[in-house]
Amino acid sequence: MLFDYIVISCCSRFREGRSISAIYHLLKGRRSIQTVQDAHIYQLKHFYGIYPGLQKQHFDKQIHKLVEDNRLVLNNDLTAVLTDFGQNWLHKHRGNVTVQYFNGMDYYQKATVFWERLLLLIQTMTNSIKHHFHFIPVIDKPIITSWVRKQYHQLRPHQTVFLNRLYGELHHLLQCFSGMEANIFVDSLTGYHHYGMSSFQIAYHYRLKQIDVPLAKTAMVHRMLFIIGQNEATYPLLANFLRELPHESRITNSASKTKELLEKQYSAEEIAEARHLKLNTIYDHMVEIALYDDCFPLETYVLPDEQAEIMAAARKTSSYKLKDIKQEVSETISYFQIRLVLAVKKISQQGDHVDRI
């Protein structure tokens, strides 16, 4: 249900402008310019990166079902459109509360970190208070375990107080959810001599589709992050789970090397030469950097007048195709400059070779 709703609403936004796989990339949170720009231009930011564990085969199977149910029609170019039935179905479920919890673009990285830290710290503290230290941790990612270890050493002298308070905050927070949601959340937790339910078990127990379970959990976590963010004073311990977030760069490794060199004031040409890469590759990196970096010094590469000219052309053509825009602007403005402006302004470019990264 949740998954179907999300896919169908993506289709209704994309219309025939994007293929089905763009939805897959959006939900997985693919770090490409194309996907991020899709999220912005089609107003699907809230769905970005909400299903990192989604498998292609499950996605395909579910799409196939939607086509079989006559809610979607697939075109030859793998774009999809809603049938009338699909349109009605979408309308009927418009009020779905859970979907409104999602805030992917803001939370897609935080949500996983928050959830995994919470799971592991609860397991650690509840076992430690029972003097049981030989348990198999539910999370074994070093980036999570090292944080939990640090917390554990600080909290150890006050375990009972900590557990009581954390219980209080969770209890308070879970009041904001439906009974079933709260149940799913609590059933997923692991403690002393008690392991949380797997997603299969939750699906079975609550009569959900397996594919919906991770989404339902993520939706709740997003909602929690929002509530905690609004009321840090009410949830001091939970707010602490969101501090010292691992610094994860959103750009590719190669691009981040380019970024380092740019920051040392090397020019694109010099970087290309030093790294034995084509100038165009460096340009691709710079567009990628511009997309994610809010402080990208656009003026260094495109004068304000030129920016205005490019924006005007983009609006005029409304196709956002690079070629069309290029024809509308002065000859001195390059493709690279156009791409930079579009990246900074978060406007999607269609076609052309932007999907390379």
């Binding site: 954390l166 392991y195 339910m197």
Partner: protein, 515 residues
């Protein structure tokens, strides 16, 4: 005396175990004395301790070759859980950064688990050459043997690896090895002075039963009837992942009081750990699983091991039923058979070897590749080009390398050589087929045995076996009417989330204030 004291102390402090189980001490003493050791110990007798304890005392590193990544990861997790942190699993599926990190500080570890495949990388060998290796362990050593049940070409190359690593002391471990296999292991490692510790693996507290039925429906009826009557820790083995899910759903539907889950290698790691640990903690009654479940699981009170499908050979069967009744109490193995059940294992055999009838075609594609560029393309491309799966390609690659058709990842072509070699390889494949078919026939003939099942089961593996403690087998007059194991008490699951949250955090429970 000093050594003995030291071993016991380490056993207690590091492994939290008060005394050795039969066989462990003798084996460990030989390992500590630097001997090459072959140890055949039944499942559940604490095989891993035989190298883990020495490894924790050795100055240098102990390498453990293990066939399954999930198995290595389980072992490392369990070691870390008891505070043995200097253990790591090294395999081809690690991300490059992690791998580099581990490789840069190999000396930091006491125990390194690795796959036989990764030992084929020359850069890895180079790194291991630089450190002191005190012990080289080959777990599931029957994989070395062509008679073993999981023939893996890279296991055969371990003899070479040992030479390259300057011949460290070796320990070969297995739970099930016939005499043929034992001989094969010793020969292929080229260690004639090996000290053998062979322990009988018959289980005197397990009763064997075979139930012949007409079809799948009847199997499901029997499952229902049996499990309705007995709520005890139960494993049900299947050959297909899908079927574990289907039957788990079917049983859940019809046995609302039981807690049931499925388990197979296609699940993600977090879910697999959750199911394993729930079963260990008595949060689950029944697990529908493939052979992926069980290794590294040490639950004492599994009462029933059922086979919905039968495995490809006796050795696997023995390993699977060996998980029952480790506490010594009466436990039952039940294998269900319906006419036509042979089809599934036969088709599985065909997935494990390159198809003989396509061999000509396969080699002509390889020749074609060679004439373009002798360098082999990446594996996933090869699989598509040749139309075979990864297991089949692994086999073929090994044979081609052995016969000089592949060298340094390049195809070597000599017209006069290829024809006879292809004939040889074809013959080897046919021999392997015959062997696998024979193994399959063995288990089928056991299923159809009309005399004692226990006698038939063990006589291929050892000279003698202990008389059964409880009923012997379905052919010696066992009936479920006489079986009354202790049952699991009904749990109460239908609490509100608030109660569950309170329980989890011990709210209102004043017995655990910190001291």
């Amino acid at each position: 005396m000093l050594i003995e004291y030291k071993l016991k102390e380490q056993l207690r402090d590091q492994f939290h175990i008060s005394s050795f189980r039969p066989g462990q001490e003798e084996i460990i003493n030989d390992v500590m004395a630097g001997h090459d050791v072959l140890a055949i110990l039944p499942t559940g007798s604490g095989k891993s301790l035989c190298y883990q304890l020495p490894a924790s005392l050795f100055k240098g590193v102990t390498l453990v070759v293990s066939p399954l990544i999930s198995l290595m990861e389980d072992q490392v997790k369990q070691l870390k859980a008891i505070g043995f942190k200097k253990a790591v699993a090294l395999n081809s599926f690690m991300n490059p950064r992690e791998k580099r990190h581990v490789l840069q500080q190999l000396e930091q570890y006491k125990l390194i688990y690795l796959s036989p495949e990764i030992l084929q990388h020359s850069d890895i060998i180079r790194r291991f050459k630089r450190i002191a290796i005190d012990l080289f362990v080959i777990d599931e050593a029957h994989c070395i043997s062509q008679w073993g049940h999981e023939f893996r070409p890279d296991y055969l190359r371990l003899g070479d690896v040992l030479k390259q690593l300057n011949d460290p002391p070796v320990m070969a471990l297995s739970a099930t090895a016939t005499q043929e296999v034992q001989r094969d292991i010793i020969t292929s490692l080229n260690r004639s002075d090996v000290v053998s510790h062979i322990y009988p693996m018959d289980r005197e507290n397990i009763t064997f039963t075979v139930k012949k039925v007409d079809d799948d429906r009847q199997k499901q009826d029997i499952l229902l009837k049996l499990l309705k009557r007995y709520r005890v820790p139960t494993l049900i083995y299947f050959s297909s992942k899908q079927k574990t899910e289907d039957i788990a759903a079917f049983l859940s539907e019809n046995l609302p009081s039981h807690r049931i889950a499925f388990y197979h290698g296609g699940m993600d790691q977090l879910d697999r750990i959750a199911i394993q640990q729930q079963f260990m903690n008595d949060q689950l009654d029944i697990i529908c699983c493939t052979s992926a479940f069980g290794m590294g699981i040490n639950k004492q009170d599994i009462r029933l091991v059922l086979h919905y499908h039968f495995p490809l050979q006796m050795e696997s069967f023995l390993q699977e039923i060996g998980r029952a009744g480790r506490d010594g109490k009466s436990s039952i193995s039940l294998l269900m058979y319906a006419p036509g059940d042979e089809a599934l294992p036969r088709s599985m055999i065909h997935h494990e070897l390159p198809p003989v009838e396509d061999l000509r075609h396969i080699f002509s594609v390889l020749y074609h590749l060679y004439s373009h560029n002798p360098k082999l393309p990446p594996t996933d491309e090869i699989l598509v080009l040749l139309g075979i799966n990864e297991i089949q390609w692994r086999f073929l690659h090994y044979q081609m390398e052995k016969h000089g058709m592949i060298k340094d990842n390049r195809i070597v072509f000599h017209q006069e050589d290829w024809r006879p070699i292809i004939r040889d390889i074809k013959q080897i494949i046919i021999t392997r087929y015959t062997l696998k078919e024979r193994k399959l026939d063995d288990i089928i003939s056991w299923i159809h045995e009309e005399k004692c099942l226990r006698d038939h089961l063990y006589k291929g593996f050892q000279d003698n076996y202990k008389p059964p403690l409880y009923a012997c087998c379905s052919n010696c007059g066992f009936s479920f009417n006489d079986w009354e194991p202790e049952q699991t008490q009904a749990g109460q699951d239908a609490f509100s989330w608030e109660t569950k949250l309170k329980t989890l955090f011990f709210i209102g429970d004043h017995s655990n204030e910190t001291k």
